[in-house]
């Protein structure tokens, strides 16, 4: 009885792993390949929108700029700069990006 239960759960785990592998393969197939540039372009400074996508979306779903006022965004970004340990220059760029479309 116990071995049957274990076998059942192993089967479920195997199925979950297989599904995860399938999903990963789908993702990798859709993933854009790295640009094989013969000459690497000089790295450009990231915009506030890019920094937002890089830093913020890795922990939580996107928060829209219109959800808060400019003053609230300043407070929230101070909190996030501490919580997520963001470099201040990046935090300032993200704040500037959010303030541009902040609610009123």
């Amino acid at each position: 009885m116990r071995s049957t239960l274990i076998n059942k759960r192993l089967a479920v785990l195997a199925g979950a792993l297989a599904l995860a592998g399938l999903c990963l393969s789908v993702v990798l197939a859709h993933a854009e390949p790295e640009k094989k540039a013969e000459q690497k372009p000089a790295p450009k400074k990231l915009t506030g929108a890019e920094l937002y996508a890089i830093n913020c979306n890795r922990c939580h779903p996107e928060r829209y700029a219109t959800e808060f006022t400019a003053a609230q965004w300043q407070t929230i970004m101070t909190h996030m700069r501490v919580r997520a340990n963001l470099p201040p220059a990046q935090a300032r760029e993200i704040l500037k990006f959010l303030k541009e479309d902040a609610g009123s």
């Binding site: 996508a53 979306n57 890795r58 922990c59 609230q72 101070t78 909190h79 501490v82």
Partner: protein
Amino acid sequence: MISGITAAACVLGMALTPRAAAMISDEDFNALKSAVTNQDQRIGQLEKLHEQDQQTHQQDQQTIQQLQQRLGETQTLATNAAEKADAAALAQATPPRSALHNVSMVGDAEVQFGQAKGQNSGLVLADFAPIFLYRANDNILFEAGFDVMLQNGSASGTNAVTLAPYTHDAGSSTTVSLSFAQLDYLLNDYVTVVAGYMLLPLGTYSERGAGWLNKIPDDPLPVDFLPGAGAGVQLRGAMPVGVSGQMLTYSVYGVNGPSSVDGSANATTLDGNGNSIPNLDLGGNVGLLNSGNNANLNNKPSGGGRIGWFYPWQAHYDVELGVSGQSGTWAGNYLWSALVVDAAVHISPYVEVKGEYINTWQQTADVGNIQPSGWWVQGSYKLAGLNLDAPVVNDLEMVGRYDTANDAQGSTTDRYTAGLVYYLTNTLLLEGDYEWLINHGLNANGLPSSQFIVQLSYGF
């Protein structure tokens, strides 16, 4: 007399009439008549012309009125434009100043419906966790987070019929606990000073595992071996590497540290019901004793920190690695230490894999050194990555987790979780998961063998 006058008048009239008839001939009369006729016609024409002139005059009057109205509007516009230009010039000369102070509230709330095997299903207000943010200026922030929960109370007594003693859930109580309360001072671009009751950077789960951020309603098992918060002071910061978003982060802190439930250095103790419980207290020793004095329950404070490396090769494609630890005494001179290795990978906006390995060491007086440890790994995939262009599917995310915990006192628990998240909005999540638990060893630690949980989670 009257007859005479009448006769005289007749004679006079007869005398004059031939004279008048003699003065106007037919030709003259016709000429006069023609002249009068011509005059009549001329008068008629003049009257028509006059009438036309009248109409033209009226039209001119209307046009004049319209022009006057437009002139008035133009003057108004010119006046407004001038005022705006003055205001703009004034604003440029003295730019508006934002208020320095701001109070905001963020946080999350969760409502759950679940059933554990062998128990009745039930609805529960799982958590209401507001975070208050008070910004004093650009460099100072005070933030505090609370957890408000509703829980059954407890009643004990004697059964009136059987006379058997009982202890049973009865009534309810509202629990308000302080998750953290810390003062953040942005000293410079590389150092932020944090002081108070702080979330500790042991791994990343405690700082990033808020209700609506966690895609599975409950916490990984081995995080129970770590203190989530501690009273102390911390320095933290980040250093960018290049301009591509890569960065190194650090945190170093000192806290009062863990303590002992019963004051001894034994591994376990007994609770009020005679049940054996771990003697290590990870959530106390906040500095204020029951006596009212400020003191650490240990001989020495604990210290810890985390170093992290974050590398994004493009947006939504990144890896983060971190190593963190804490060490200090927990009872007398007996040491307690922890080591956590954390990792997270994002491959496209759709795939996330993250996890932690947690190992702790505890010196005890009765059983020597014990090492409660465990690890967890969680993967998720947003179905929007399938590009099916289906509205419901695009808002779904599959999530799975494996976690295991060995309490080093004879019990190991393995858990497999499979779940689904539906994003009703960007911050309103409907999560559902099914969990299978396998308990090995002496202590079953009270967890059911399986359960399902449905949670509505809102981040605000």
